[in-house]
Amino acid sequence: MQSVKLQQNDATFSLDATFNIDLSPIIQDALHKGIALPFVLDFNVMRQRWNIWDQTVVEASLPYRLSYNVLTRQYHIRDKLRGRDKNFDTLEQVLTAAGIIMDLAVFNAEQLMPEVEYEAQVRLRLEAGALPSALQLEALESDKWEVSSPWYRWVMD
């Protein structure tokens, strides 16, 4: 996690976040063998309550895939939700690009009540459940497949 910023444009709140993505050798190997890596950005807004269970007010997630074309030897980020589709020539480029999420509309202002303290949290993870099923088994057994940033929490202003 490098930076995170929540901006209000009129009625919409949008998220800017930058992550450092570090792939283990086994995942890099899989990526270079043509296997697409499904990433998910999770964003929640929670209202703190007196008990230990906080109430989740906003729940947003952004799935996108990072892949490598063995034929063209290009890296590829495809974000169907936002129509982002970009090629990259090197791994560093594509990891940097994959770690930057800009201007992601996460919730509307009316979803939150004024003068209530909310807490936001964000993380980026590799979603093992979206891997090809044969690999899911491998991912189940081995923690080398686990790529996830910890939840980054902050209290909203």
Binding site: A30, K33, R73, H76, N87, G129, S133, A134, L135
Partner: protein, 723 residues
């Protein structure tokens, strides 16, 4: 009832668990074999599936453990049928575990082998080669496009902007490329040419491409174009001599077929790599699934084995319990199990058998009860029978008797039974009778009259002996009656009749005799001389006196033979005795008394009892008449419910003959006696339900009267004495 319901519930629960486990095992196997190869979301379901499987296995293990523990405990305790249960369980487990384990081993080996065969170095290199081939092909095309772009750039570099716009189409046509775009260094389009019919907005080069071109480097790349196609793109700088440099971008669509083939190779390569990456995971997962399924199946089999074994050996347990119960005489055991097999048949047969035994036992019991009742009836008849009954075996040992026999013989016969040692006299008399009867005739029944002495009184018995020949108990039955009283009564009745007739016959002539004598005296007296007259008168007087005496005697006869009316009142015995002896104060023999200190009361006729005392005292006086110092003693004593009045004297005593006949009427040893004194005594005493006994006792003789006491008197002092 509750217990069986719980048992049933337990059984059902077990069955359900087994069924669920088996189903789940199969389902697990199915899921794992299908879902892994499909692209569904295994990731989320797999942990649940595995968790449930492991949970089921744990539950099954607990159940099996409990069942096995119970079975072992039963086996240790030696419960009948547990050995069979254990053996059946072992057989079931052997039968299922061995093939299961073999199948498991083969499956695991097969699985590993199969998965290994997917990954072959040749396939690997073939895919790699295919990929390289496609890549080479594309790079070839890219190199050609590069050359074309270079030549186009050279031709364009000599032209100004206007001619460039005009010539780009022809240049593109010559080079046979899809699209050519001329740009400024900032990326603005100067001219563009497209092979397509409709004009498409030209593809813009990226910033990095532009930058690369500005640095006089050309860019050549294969790019993905949309969903299907591949695009070759080359960006080259165009250097003008005096003008600013320009940038040319040419693109060429890879032929669709080539693109598709390349994509296919790519997909195959990716899939292969995917599998290759997950091969160990797959192998482990399949093995895990197999192990889980095997575990479920085996545990289910063991559980079922326990259940089946219990079910199979349950009838044995019942049979064992039933046999034990029957041995203890309980025939109520019925088989609770109804089954169609041989064991069921066996238990049912057993139930039928116990049922029949039970009925037979009931019948026997009924029979025995009837027999006992019959026996009781017979013995009660025997007991109430007034006749004495004795039975002897062939050796003349007493076998049975009734109370009347004891009463008549005046002896307890209990000791005379074969087990006892005593041998009462009466019994010996009976034996003598049987022996003489046996020797006398060969009849099976004979009758005799026997005299026996019981408690110093003679009894006459009428004895009937029957021989019991054949049957289970051969011997003799002796039935006897005490006929003493009967004979006495007969004798008395006879005497009464004789007395009456005699009285009648004698009395009839007496009056004429008397009258005749008186007339003789009256008629002849005056005519005779004084001497003769005196003699006559004396003789007549004698006649008259004797006739009167005769009359008195005859009247006494009558009196004796008549059944007199009896008055009944309470009598004070001691008072009566004192009253009677008061009349004898003047006689020669002094009468002493020794009376009971208690007052004695009995019901009776005072006059008659008074006569009894008179008779006895007179008897005693006559007995002591010749003694120098005559003594007469009257005693009264009381026992529990009788009173005794004894009259003792110091006379000569009785001879044996007198002892046996003293109470017979008209038997006398005295010259002037009527022979009725003691007979009357006995008659009166017997009328009062008493008994009289006579015996010799120092210093002379004693006559004892035993009378029953009155029980109705609560407090005799309140009664007026009758004396």
């Amino acid at each position: 009832m509750k217990l069986t319901r719980i048992k049933k519930l337990k059984k059902t629960t077990l069955s359900v668990i087994v069924a669920v486990s088996l189903c789940f095992g199969f389902y697990l196997l199915y899921l794992l074999s299908t879902q892994i190869t499909t692209t569904s979301d295994v990731f989320n379901e797999l942990p649940i599936l595995l968790g449930v499987g492991v949970g089921l296995i744990v539950v099954l293990m607990i159940l099996v453990g409990a069942q096995v523990l119970v079975t072992i405990r039963r086996y240790r305790a030696g419960v009948f049928g547990s050995k069979l249960t254990v053996r059946l369980i072992l057989v079931f487990v052997m039968v299922s575990v061995v093939p299961g384990a073999v199948m498991y081993g083969i499956s695991v080996q097969f699985l590993a082998g199969t998965i290994e065969t997917w990954f072959d170095i040749r396939v690997d290199s073939a895919l790699e080669g295919g990929l390289n081939l496609g890549r080479a092909n594309l790079e070839n095309g890219l190199g050609e496009l590069q050359r074309k772009a270079d030549s186009m750039a050279v031709s364009l570099s000599y032209q100004n902007t206007a001619t460039q716009v005009a010539s780009i189409d022809s240049l593109r046509d010559q080079a046979a490329i899809s699209e050519a775009t001329l740009l400024t260094t900032t990326g603005a389009v100067v001219a563009s040419s497209n092979s397509g019919a409709d004009s498409i907005i030209p593809l813009a080069p990226t910033q990095s491409m532009l930058r690369q071109a500005q640095l006089q480097q050309s860019y050549a790349g294969i790019e993905e174009n949309g969903e299907v196609g591949l695009l070759l793109r080359v960006v080259v700088p165009i250097n003008h001599l005096e003008e600013e440099m320009q940038i040319l971008q040419v693109t060429q669509l890879v032929p669709e077929r080539l693109a598709r083939d390349a994509a296919m190779v790519q997909v195959a390569y990716r899939d292969y790599q995917e599998l290759s990456l997950s091969r160990y995971g797959l192998q482990r997962l399949y093995t895990l699934a197999l192990t889980l399924s095997l575990g479920l199946a085996l545990l289910c089999v063991v559980l079922m084995a326990v259940m089946f074994s219990n079910r199979l050996s349950a009838p044995l347990g019942f049979l064992a319990a039933g046999t034990r119960a029957v041995a203890q005489g309980d025939f109520s055991q019925r088989a609770p199990i109804s089954r169609g097999d041989e064991l069921g048949f066996l238990t049912e047969s057993f139930s039928v058998m116990t049922g029949q035994l039970s009925e037979a036992k009931e019948a026997a019991e009924k029979h025995e009860i009837a027999l006992t009742q019959g026996n009781a009836y017979l013995s009660s008849i025997l007991e109430t029978l007034s006749a004495g009954v004795l039975t002897f075996d062939e050796g003349l040992n007493l076998r049975a008797y009734n109370p009347s026999a004891e009463q008549i013989l005046g002896q307890s016969l209990e000791g005379a039974l074969p087990s006892g040692a005593s041998n009462p006299d009466g019994l010996e008399a009976m034996r003598v009778l049987i022996r003489t009867g046996l020797s006398g005739s060969d009849k099976s029944q004979w009758e005799r009259q026997v005299e026996i002495v019981v408690e110093e009184t003679k009894k006459i018995l009428l004895v009937r002996v029957s021989t019991l020949s054949g049957g289970e108990f051969p011997g003799f039955v002796v039935v006897f009656d005490d006929v003493t009283h009967l004979l006495q009564a007969q004798r008395l009745a006879l005497w009464g009749e004789v007395a009456e007739r005699l009285a009648h016959e004698i009395k009839n002539p007496l009056t004429p005799i008397q009258l005749s004598a008186e007339r003789l005296s009256r008629r002849l007296g005056p005519k005779l001389e004084e001497h003769d007259a005196t003699m006559l008168e004396r003789s007549v007087k004698t006649i008259v006196d004797q006739v009167a005496a005769l009359k008195g005697m005859v009247n006494a006869f009558n009196e004796y033979s008549r059944n007199p009316d009896r008055k009944s009142e309470l009598i004070d015995v001691n008072g009566l005795v004192l009253d009677v002896i008061g009349l004898y104060q003047a006689t020669a023999a002094p009468i002493e008394t020794n009376l009971a200190s208690d007052e004695i009361f009995l019901w009776g006729d005072t006059g008659k009892l008074r006569q009894v005392l008179h008779n006895l005292i007179q008897n005693a006086e006559q007995a002591v008449f010749e003694r120098a110092a005559p003594e007469i003693l009257i005693e009264t004593t009381v026992t529990s419910n009788t009173t005794q009045i004894r009259v003792r004297d110091n006379g000569p005593g009785f001879s044996d003959e007198v002892l046996s006949r003293a109470f017979d009427p008209y038997y006398t040893t005295k010259a002037k006696g009527t022979g009725l004194g003691l007979a009357i005594v006995r008659k009166i005493v017997e009328e009062h339900d008493g008994a009289v006994a006579i015996r010799n006792e120092e210093p002379g003789a004693v006559i004892e009267i035993t009378m029953p006491l009155s029980h109705t008197i609560v407090n005799p002092k309140h009664l007026k004495k009758t004396v």
